[in-house]
Symmetry: C2
Amino acid sequence: MNESERAYAPGLKGVLAGETALARVDGENGRLHYRGYPIGELVERGSYAQVAELLWTGEWNADASLSCAPLPAEVIDALRVLPSSTHAMDALRTALSVWGAVEGTLWPPTVEQARALTAVAPSALAAFARIRDGLEPVEPDAGLGLAEGFLYQLRGERPDPAAARALDAYFVVGAEHGFNASTFAARVIISTHSDIASAVVGAIGALKGPWHGGAPAEVVDQLHEMGDIDQAEAWIRGTLERGERLMGFGHRVYRAYDPRAAALRRVAESQAHAADWLQKAVAVEEIALRVLEEFKPDYPIKTNVEYYAAAVLQGVGLPPNLFPATFALARHAGWTAHCLEQAEVDVLIRPDVRYVGPSERPLPA
Amino acid sequence: MNESERAYAPGLKGVLAGETALARVDGENGRLHYRGYPIGELVERGSYAQVAELLWTGEWNADASLSCAPLPAEVIDALRVLPSSTHAMDALRTALSVWGAVEGTLWPPTVEQARALTAVAPSALAAFARIRDGLEPVEPDAGLGLAEGFLYQLRGERPDPAAARALDAYFVVGAEHGFNASTFAARVIISTHSDIASAVVGAIGALKGPWHGGAPAEVVDQLHEMGDIDQAEAWIRGTLERGERLMGFGHRVYRAYDPRAAALRRVAESQAHAADWLQKAVAVEEIALRVLEEFKPDYPIKTNVEYYAAAVLQGVGLPPNLFPATFALARHAGWTAHCLEQAEVDVLIRPDVRYVGPSERPLPA
């Protein structure tokens, strides 16, 4: 086949790079399913442990449980080496790289490896956050679920049940979302018969990019910046007139209202301590959607998952500099499930490339 | 566009996922160029420093130089934490993750970042190898080139010039090779506006897979296993009759003789101490090519780069467990050059996926 006859697809937009039985993302209609189950039902009636097991095994297990795992000493020692100014995503990436080195995980990836990696990641992030603050890491409590256990290890005390429930719902919503860049990076890596830790370490690196993992913390900043609600409309108009982006709105895939935003909004509404902040977020959303429609009438821009993710994470009391890494914790279930799926297909992911450089030439004398 | 109308390309074989001006890989004719310069000329008359600068900047700089960089204390401390049994690729991945955390590299990637990362990686691998052997790391010597400086830091003494030259030639040959899986992983990661260290850390994870970084050490094992040259043919026939792979032969892209193997064979032939081992390798190659042609007359399988890479690395005196990570060191120039190129294009790499899971269903009660 000649190069000129082949599909040229920079960014691979519209190219079906594989098959998945994990998530169905229907951007046109604003719907998301994990293995056929609607995200709204999963948030309302399921737990992250159930969702993770569903993604890994394909089965709904009502009794599924998942707790944070203790960290190998080497991981804690490596976290102590990092400067306290380290980006939380760099710390999580490093911690899991050390975990992979210590565990010596090998191809093929297994459900046990997926579970172990997903269970150790929140412990690693919590240990990093405590060490940088001059505190000692807290041993995980095997009696707590993953999200609750993460908050416990961050603070050294049990979180209130509503906060634990809200963060668990956030984890459900963030667990999986098709062939996004980080998941695709994980699949490329594992497709070489590398190991699951290498794949997840690569995925964390991809999620670190603001074009992918986004900047949920900036939603919080933005709401602070715009001042009182009666100043919000002028602030939003000014931002759009300067050609700047409004954080928390618009998504590459969703044209309709992001079903994850809808589910998280309901969760946020149930959080008593987030009340003031949430009230403002709801009011600002209404103004923003109205102004966006006026500015871009032909191109629907709706609220995205980050907007209410910020509300939930803020409500739960997480510091904004941990928001992206907390998203990474939630996505572990999906990344590792994709590793299992890729290993089933077992084909090397290696695209072609069009050469556009100089013609053959001799080396200068 | 309907899903069924879109190209379905698992593994992305034949899909042009982007453009590059770095390497031209002509598998049909067994030719490889970096920015138009034939690999044979680059090996014969160029150095890795010149090749790396050429890849990063597009310019041939006869005065280019590149030495190993000193490691930040945090990287050495993190390497001390790892068990001595750690896979060298896991150690390199971890060391560069720590380096990225300490340096706080940010988007967009720059030539300075590319140079810094490429210069620090050999120091990290050498420090790991010494620490696991119970030795202290050796400070880099800024007066030595990258390959020579790597050998110096491994052993604490200056290598002989022929070995340094041979390893430099290996680095030239391994520097770049289009959209292979590790390079593609790096481009996916940096395409999210993540940082160059995250991209290279992901690439190392991909290269770790034996389907990509291969198993040059197994070429050595195989030559040992087959015994004397007069037993080689029987051993090769037995291996192929059992349906097993012959290491060092066959490549996804090259149908003709791999030009990198040809260049490295010439380098190996110039290494005096590799003489016995090389003589055997040359004799075995001849037998293997003859038997392979007999077994697969319709599908040309030629010597690949690993075969003579093993000869050079063995000749230079590297332990086989460092072969894959040494390949990673060489590929740093290419990975980081691709990061620069991807940042110029600046498009998120995010393919689509075909959903093949269950239809919508309610959660079990």
